[in-house]
């Protein structure tokens, strides 16, 4: 029997796995998809929130502020892109001022540092594209932007480097209580462990209900986004929010850590977690809402649009802790916004709860919090590039021309711990295919490299999840028919 099974490889599950890998425990993370970070983690606003949105006293408020403060260190150790670009919440007209002051007040009570109210003119001085209608804004210098899937992938890799086991393509179908723990059936295999941590995101209510009486429901809420070419990446420098509504934080305009511009999301309850489709109406509503903040977003520079589904809990707050009547079964559920920001703090908290349950296992003396750095070849000096190519000629072969990603980097991303097994997996680790051609040129090359490195035929290489086959077979010409 192992010590801990974590269900779900989103940012929360991966960071919990990493926290626990600091200690002498045997941990397994099971993920239903072919990669970590494949659900809500890969499709959200990618914002590190300052922490003025949540009501004081809630878990959201606590973990948001704690998590925000941890980001520099976590991202530094894991080599994840992070930028403290600061955020602005805009008030359009006097009637929105009370809401703005409420946010200011909440922020102070939550412990958000350095909040500041700016006049409309001052806002436009700092951010010239902001609408003339803005009368005042709340400025939070601790607001930031991050690579969310990079964070989850890096945490998973670092956890595996430190002894965690990762099992992909393993959907949990049953959890049975056994003497001293649980038997988890996932991907046709069974694992016995003392502790189970439910980080199943959109499916966390279903997982919870397998062992404990139902006490919360996840309401899937979809948000749609536009991503614009890097030519538009400096359209604004801060993350620009509008005053929140009961439906969420409203439509934001923000640079991304990758240098693009992101516009979205809307918020719409959908029938199930799988509804990640975008809609004409949704995309239109985002354009309209965003035009209130700043006019002149160049939508002809859109390189992609996408939708993510949030795990909104019907309890309105994160659900974190041991489930009722199920000793050793812990929930980290309902992690909607500010979930990404909160994740590092949730992980530390959960690690504490689990270790207490397991009788305080000792730390691993050889734990290494630093992940082997990703080689960002494009950013190296000419001399360093030359040196790397001499060492391994595959670094001299550019596969993705939009993002200048080399074959050497792709091979490395496949063979790292928690490495890429799919085209999207490569893309999320290195960004080939996220540029303006959206994989038009590099797609076939990436498929070829995956096929070669994973020793699978080309037509078994998948885009993303197990059923997302890219090629349907050989041509007649190839088979000689």
């Amino acid at each position: 029997m192992i010590d801990i099974t974590i269900i779900g490889g989103g940012v929360v599950g991966c960071l919990i796995g990493r926290e626990l890998s600091r200690y002498r425990v045997k941990t397994l993370l099971v993920e239903k998809d072919s990669d970590v970070a494949n659900g809500t983690t890969k499709a959200n606003s990618a914002i590190v929130h300052a922490g003025f949105d949540a009501s004081p006293g809630t878990l959201k408020a606590r973990f948001n502020v704690e998590g925000n403060a941890m980001y520099d260190r976590v991202c530094g150790e894991l080599g994840v892109p992070l930028k403290r670009n600061g955020s602005l919440v805009l008030a359009f007209g006097k009637e929105e001022l009370p809401e703005l002051y409420t946010l200011m007040d909440r922020g102070k009570r939550n412990g958000v540092p350095s909040l500041e109210l700016l006049s409309g003119d001052e806002v436009r001085r700092r951010e010239p594209r902001i609408s003339k209608e803005v009368v005042e804004a709340l400025y939070a210098p601790t607001g930031g932007i991050v690579g969310p899937w990079e964070l989850a992938i890096a945490a998973a890799e670092n956890a595996v480097d430190n002894g965690m086991e990762l099992m992909l393509d393993s959907e949990v179908t049953a959890i049975d209580r056994i003497e001293g723990g649980y038997r988890v059936t996932a991907g046709g295999r069974t694992v016995e462990s003392k502790v189970v941590i439910n980080c199943a995101g959109l499916y966390s209510d279903r997982i919870h209900d397998l062992v404990s009486e139902p006490c919360f429901r996840i309401i899937p809420r979809r948000g749609e986004y536009f991503v614009l070419d890097r030519s538009e990446g400096s359209f604004v420098s801060h993350t620009i929010f509008q005053c929140p509504t009961p439906n969420g934080k409203g439509v934001l305009i923000s640079p991304t850590v990758h240098g693009n511009l992101i516009v979205g999301p809307n918020a719409e309850q959908v029938a199930g977690p799988e509804h990640v489709e975008t809609t004409a109406a949704g995309l239109k509503s985002i354009r309209e809402a965003a035009s209130r903040s700043c006019d002149g977003v160049v939508y002809s520079a859109v390189i992609t649009s996408f939708a993510g589904v949030r795990s909104t809990p019907d309890t309105h707050d994160f659900i974190i802790g041991e489930a009722k009547g199920a000793p050793g079964f812990f929930d980290a559920a309902g992690i909607e916004s500010p979930g990404l920001t909160s994740a590092p703090a949730i992980a530390v908290h959960m690690s504490g709860l689990v270790r207490e349950y397991l009788g305080d296992p000792p730390p691993r003396p050889d734990f290494n919090p630093v992940r082997r750095p990703m080689l960002h070849f494009a950013q190296l000096s000419g001399e360093a590039k030359a040196a790397w190519i001499r060492k391994d000629p595959r670094f001299g072969r550019i596969v993705c021309r939009c993002e200048s990603v080399t074959e050497g980097e792709i091979v490395d991303a496949i063979h790292r711990n928690a490495g890429a097994t799919t085209v999207d997996g490569v893309k999320r680790r290195l960004r080939p295919g996220t540029g303006r051609c959206q994989g038009g040129f590099c797609g076939p090359r990436v498929v070829e490299i995956l096929s070669r490195e994973l020793h699978i035929p080309m037509n078994e290489v998948r885009k993303d999840r197990p059923a997302s086959v890219l090629l349907t077979g050989l041509t007649k010409t190839a088979t000689g028919e």
Binding site: T278, T304, I389, G396, R436, G440, P444, K463, A467, L474
Partner: protein
């Protein structure tokens, strides 16, 4: 630092013809840089025929067309490098180049010819609603998989966009046993060549829906269905006109975009309409000594015209490298008037013309029986009667040098009505 008289970025049809022509014009120190593992560019995956009717007066396949230039290049002993990527070009005509073989290098050229070609417009650029499953391909990527790798991209296929590659692929996939259910085109006319509509769609009973677009894509993992709908004159879908297809693949052939990231790095001025560098009569860009040709300048419909344009660029790059191209101010700028979308070149230095200038252009919409007129003020410099004009087919007007001597200011190109003839 390694120095060449002429460095050509791209070994596709434009780069090859430019290199050969530069050699014929007297240059010997020439280097062609190609990112792929062979020369020929996108022609290597265009295994259908129809290439070369103008240049060679015969019908060749893409690889055959490329091969003629590759052989000529090799017989002339022109140096080229494969698997080689240019990372940056600066306005002092130095280039950062990497390859497995030579590592990272900075090269210096007297003249550079840009011949990077173009890329395909993507689904994202269109913001097509729906899911994002496997099975959505740009027509060119699908062509690479099918023709070069030997893999099928799907079995039941809907094509959005009636650009030439999409039409060609509709036929290719049909011949490979797939069912192409429909081709939808947003515009009320096709952007492809008429011969391709006939030979690739009509001959295989593939329906073409004009003024239609994709309004939904279904399928979480792999495409399971695509819905198209008719659009109104503002290109907005009309409710109630939806047609749904059960299919596993959506091919996009929705336009090509000149690939000018390197041009931007050199500070070269781009034309907002063509998406390519602004060029003069010698195919020289706004940065002296950097020339451009082929699809990086403007998207061509026939490779033959790419070859012609590239010959001009290669010839003039060679003249420049030999100090024979005078550094003159532009005498004339060209302007696209009524019915014309753009004109290339954008400026003319009459003193550098050898015989004539070839104005290339596209019309804004299909029309019949018009004069294509080039005016200088009120004066008609050239007037050509055209029976049939369509945006999918590039037009060109040649103006001999003697008609331009002494002119300055604007050359205005427009469509004019043909007076009713009794």
């Amino acid at each position: 630092m390694n120095t060449y008289d002429i460095i050509i970025v791209g070994g596709g049809p434009a780069g090859l013809a430019a290199a050969v022509e530069a050699h014929k014009s007297g240059s010997r120190s020439i280097l062609v840089l190609e990112r792929d593992r062979e020369l020929g560019g996108i022609l290597q995956q265009c295994i259908h025929n129809g290439f070369g009717l103008h240049i060679f007066k015969e019908e060749l396949t893409g690889p055959e067309y490329a091969e003629r230039f590759i052989q000529e290049l090799e017989s002339l002993g022109i140096e080229y490098r494969l698997d080689t990527m240019v990372l940056e070009i600066r306005d002092d005509r130095t280039l950062d180049v990497i390859s497995s073989r030579h590592g990272f290098e900075i090269l210096q050229a007297r003249a550079i010819v840009l011949a990077m070609g173009c890329r395909e417009r993507t689904r994202g650029a269109l913001s097509i609603p729906g899911t994002r499953p496997a099975g959505i391909y740009s027509a060119g990527s699908a062509q690479r998989y099918v023709n070069m790798e030997g893999y099928m991209v799907g079995r039941r296929i809907v094509v959005l966009g009636s650009g030439d590659i999409g039409l060609i692929m509709a036929r290719r996939l049909t011949l490979e046993g797939a069912k192409v259910l429909a081709v939808a085109e947003l515009l009320p006319y096709s952007g492809g060549l008429t011969r391709n509509i006939v030979q690739c769609l009509d001959d295989f009973d593939i329906p073409l829906y004009l003024s239609h677009t994709v309004v939904d894509i279904e399928g979480r993992d792999r495409v399971e269905g695509v819905t198209i709908a008719k659009v109104d004159d503002k290109r907005q879908p009309i409710p109630g006109t939806e047609i749904h297809y059960d299919c596993d693949t959506l091919l996009l052939s929705v336009g090509l975009i000149p690939e000018n990231e390197l041009s931007k790095s050199a500070g070269i001025r781009l034309d907002p309409v063509t998406g390519g560098p602004v060029v003069n009569e010698s195919m020289e860009t706004s940065v002296q000594g950097i020339f451009a040709c082929g699809n990086v300048v403007q998207v061509h419909d026939l490779v033959d015209w790419v070859t012609e344009e590239a010959r001009k660029a290669g010839h003039n790059a060679s003249r420049f490298a030999q100090g024979q191209l005078a550094d003159l101010p532009a005498d004339l700028v060209t302007r696209a008037g009524l019915g014309i979308r753009y004109v290339v070149p954008q400026s003319i230095r009459v003193g550098n013309l050898e015989k004539e200038v070839d104005l290339m252009m596209r019309v804004t919409e299909p029309c019949k029986n018009k004069y294509l007129t080039v005016r200088h003020g009120e004066d008609i410099v050239k007037k050509v009667r055209k029976v049939h004009l369509t945006p999918g087919e590039m037009e060109s007007v040649k103006i001999p040098i003697d008609k331009l001597q002494g002119l300055s200011g604007e050359l205005h190109v427009c469509l004019e009505e043909v007076a009713h003839e009794a």
